[in-house]
C-alpha cells in the first residue's frame, strides 16, 4: 500500500498522447470493431458502432449508464454474442453474429468491476490460475514477478477475502496481466473503490499499462478516469458513438451539446450565426459570442457557443478578451482549490471557476470575459 506513486509523463495534459506513445513498449494487438450490434430480446443495447484500436493503445469507452459501453466490452471479451457486425483481434475475426471464438481462446483478459477474486484460492493461486500450460517452476516465477509488479508479494499466500478492496483489485490486475494477453479489458475497475484510493489506483494502473505496453480497452462513466488515462476516448450514447477523439480534443472541441455537458463543466449560449460565421448573435441584451474558429452552421442558422467555466475571466482580467459581457455575481462558493462563481449574464446563468484568492462579492456588477480561442461552437440540435 505504501508504494511510491509515480505520475507518468503521459497524463501531463501538455504532452500530446501521440508523442508519448512512441517511447513506451508495445506488446498488444490491434482490435477492430465493425458495425457492432448487440440485442437483448427486443431491446438493442448497441446499435451499430465501429472503431479500431492500434497495438499498445489505451482507449476508453465512456458514457452514461445504459449507453452500451460495458456490453460492447463484454462482446469483445466473448462473454456476449453480437447480433450483427464483426470483431477482429490481431487480424483474426473472433466474433460475428454466426460464429464466436470462445472467450478463453481470444488472447484477451479482463479486470472486472467486482474484482472477481476467487475466495477459495490464495492470491498466488488466483494469479497463477491461467498459467496451466507452462512448467510449474516457470509459472511460479511468473506469478512472483507479477505480484512484485503490483506490490502484493507479501500477500501471496493470503486468501482473496482477507484483502482490502484496493488489494483485491491489484490481484485482479495481476491475474489479468500474468497471462500476457494481447488485449486487456477493464470494466469499470475502479468504481468500487473510495475516492482517494481510486485516484492512487488510477496512477498505478496507468503506470502498469505503460510498463507492459499492452493494448487496453477501458470502460468507465467517470470522465476524470477517461481524460487522465486514455490515448483516445470513444464517447457512447444510447448505443451509438457520439464522438471519438483524444481526451484534449473531446474536452476542447466537443462535437455536440451532449459531449460538452458530459465531459467537464460547460457554459452554453445559443444564438444565430452572424456574417463571417465566427460570431453568434444572441437574444441576451448586449451579448454576441465570438469564437476563434467558425461554426459549422451557415450564416443565419442556430448554433450554440460552448466555453468552460475555468476559461471565464472577471473584472480587469477580462480586459484583453474578445468576448466581454456585463454580468452580475449571484453566488460565490469556496471549494478550497477554487471559487465556484455563478453569474447572471442578461438572464442566463454562466458559471466560472476562479482562483481561491480572487476578490468577488455576491451582488457585484462586473465584466465577464472569454477569449475567442476558448469558445467552441456545437450544433444547436437537441441535447
Amino acid at each position: 500500500m505504501n508504494r511510491e506513486v509515480i505520475v507518468p509523463e503521459t497524463i501531463n495534459p501538455t504532452s500530446s498522447p501521440a508523442r508519448a506513445r512512441e517511447d513506451r513498449p508495445v506488446t498488444g494487438a490491434s482490435v477492430v470493431v465493425e458495425d457492432l450490434r448487440i440485442k437483448y430480446g427486443d431491446t438493442e443495447a448497441v446499435k451499430g458502432i465501429s472503431f479500431s484500436i492500434a497495438p499498445g493503445e489505451f482507449v476508453t469507452l465512456l458514457g452514461p449508464s445504459g449507453c452500451g459501453k460495458s456490453t460492447t466490452l463484454r462482446c469483445i471479451a466473448g462473454l456476449e454474442p453480437p447480433s450483427a457486425g464483426r470483431i477482429t483481434i490481431d487480424g483474426q475475426v473472433v466474433a460475428t453474429a454466426q460464429n464466436q471464438v470462445p472467450p478463453e481462446r481470444r488472447g484477451v483478459n479482463m479486470v472486472f468491476q467486482s474484482y472477481a477474486v476467487w475466495p477459495h484460492m490464495t492470491v498466488a493461486g488466483n494469479v497463477g490460475y491461467g498459467l496451466t500450460k507452462m512448467p510449474k517452476a516457470d509459472a511460479q516465477a511468473r506469478v512472483a514477478e507479477v505480484l512484485d509488479l503490483v506490490g502484493l508479494s507479501p500477500y501471496a499466500s493470503r486468501y482473496g477475502t482477507e484483502l482490502s478492496g484496493g488489494q483485491q483489485q491489484r490481484v485482479a490486475l495481476a491475474r489479468a496481466i500474468v497471462t500476457r494477453p494481447k488485449v486487456i479489458l477493464f470494466d469499470e475497475p475502479l468504481s468500487n473503490l473510495d475516492a482517494g484510493l481510486r485516484e492512487q489506483m488510477r496512477f498505478e494502473l496507468l503506470e502498469l499499462q505503460r510498463t507492459v505496453g499492452v493494448t487496453s480497452i477501458y470502460v468507465t462513466h467517470d470522465q476524470t478516469e477517461a481524460m487522465s488515462m486514455s490515448d483516445r476516448v470513444v464517447l457512447l450514447r444510447d448505443g451509438l458513438i457520439e464522438q471519438e477523439a483524444p481526451p484534449r480534443e473531446i474536452y476542447r472541441r466537443p462535437r455536440s451539446r451532449f459531449v460538452a455537458e458530459f465531459v467537464g463543466r460547460a457554459n452554453m449560449i445559443g444564438g444565430t450565426v452572424a456574417e463571417g460565421g465566427r460570431t453568434l448573435t444572441t437574444e441576451l441584451p448586449g451579448v454576441t459570442v465570438t469564437g476563434a474558429e467558425g461554426a459549422d452552421e451557415p450564416v443565419g442558422a442556430r448554433s450554440v457557443a460552448v466555453f468552460r467555466s475555468e476559461d471565464v475571466l472577471l473584472g480587469d482580467a477580462a480586459g484583453g478578451c474578445e468576448n466581454r459581457w456585463p454580468a452580475t455575481v449571484e453566488r460565490v462558493t469556496f471549494l478550497g482549490r477554487f471559487l465556484d462563481v455563478t453569474l447572471d449574464v442578461g438572464g442566463t446563468v454562466v458559471r466560472a471557476e476562479l482562483r481561491a484568492d480572487a476578490s468577488v462579492a455576491e451582488g457585484e456588477r462586473t465584466t465577464l470575459g472569454v477569449r475567442a480561442a476558448d469558445v467552441h461552437f456545437v450544433p444547436a440540435a437537441e441535447l
Partner: protein, 192 residues
C-alpha cells in the same frame, strides 16, 4: 443415492440458472414435475416400467426411484447456491484461459460445495426414512429399514418395529452428526 441425486441436481441447476433459452426452460420444467406427483403414483409408475427388467425387486430400482423423486430438491439447493455465486467469478476463469468444464470444476464446484454438502445430508436423511415410494417398489430381498419397520407394524409386531425404528434413528443421527462435525454443514433454513 444422495450423491447421484446431488450431481444430477447440480447439472439441472447449472443449466437452469446459467444457460439461456428453450433448453433451460424445458429442463427446469421436467425436473420440477416429480414434486407434483404423489409418491405412490410415482412408485407404481416405476414398478410398471421396470416390471420385466432385471432391476425389478432390487435395491437399484429403489435408488432409481428415489433419485427421480428427490432431483427437484437437489436442484433447488444447487440453484440457491449457484445464484449466490457472482457470474463474474466464472467469467474471470474463462478470461484466464480456462474452458467451460475447467471453470465448473475449479471455480463453480468448490464455491458451491457448502450448499451441496447440506443438500447431500438432507437427501441422505430423506432417503433413509422414505416410505412412500419404497414400500411399493421394495421386494423380499430389497427392503430399506423404513419399509421393514412399516411391515412389522402392519403385522402387529410393534416391538420389532420399535427396534428397527431405533436403529434407523441411530443411523440417521450418526450421519447428521458426522456432517456437522466433519464437513461443518449447517442444516438451517439459510441453506435451503
Amino acid at each position: 443415492m444422495p450423491t447421484l441425486t446431488v450431481v444430477l441436481g447440480v447439472a439441472v441447476a447449472y443449466v437452469v440458472v446459467r444457460e439461456r433459452g428453450l433448453l433451460s426452460g424445458l429442463v427446469d420444467y421436467i425436473s420440477t414435475v416429480p414434486i407434483a406427483v404423489p409418491g405412490i403414483v410415482f412408485a407404481t409408475g416405476i414398478v410398471w416400467l421396470y416390471l420385466r427388467s432385471p432391476l425389478y425387486g432390487t435395491l437399484t430400482l429403489i435408488v432409481v426411484a428415489l433419485v427421480g423423486v428427490y432431483i427437484p430438491h437437489a436442484a433447488r439447493f444447487a440453484s440457491a447456491g449457484l445464484i449466490q455465486i457472482d457470474k463474474s467469478l466464472e467469467e474471470a476463469g474463462r478470461m484466464s484461459g480456462a474452458g467451460k468444464l475447467r471453470v465448473i470444476r475449479t471455480i463453480t464446484f468448490p464455491l458451491l460445495r457448502p450448499s451441496l454438502m447440506s443438500a447431500w445430508i438432507l437427501l441422505y436423511v430423506f432417503a433413509m426414512r422414505e416410505v412412500d415410494e419404497a414400500v411399493i417398489i421394495a421386494g423380499p430381498n430389497s427392503r430399506p429399514l423404513a419399509v421393514l419397520a412399516f411391515s412389522f407394524i402392519e403385522a402387529g409386531a410393534i416391538r420389532n418395529s420399535a427396534v428397527i425404528g431405533l436403529l434407523l434413528t441411530l443411523v440417521m443421527l450418526t450421519g447428521v452428526l458426522i456432517a456437522r462435525m466433519v464437513f461443518r454443514v449447517r442444516l438451517d433454513s439459510s441453506s435451503l
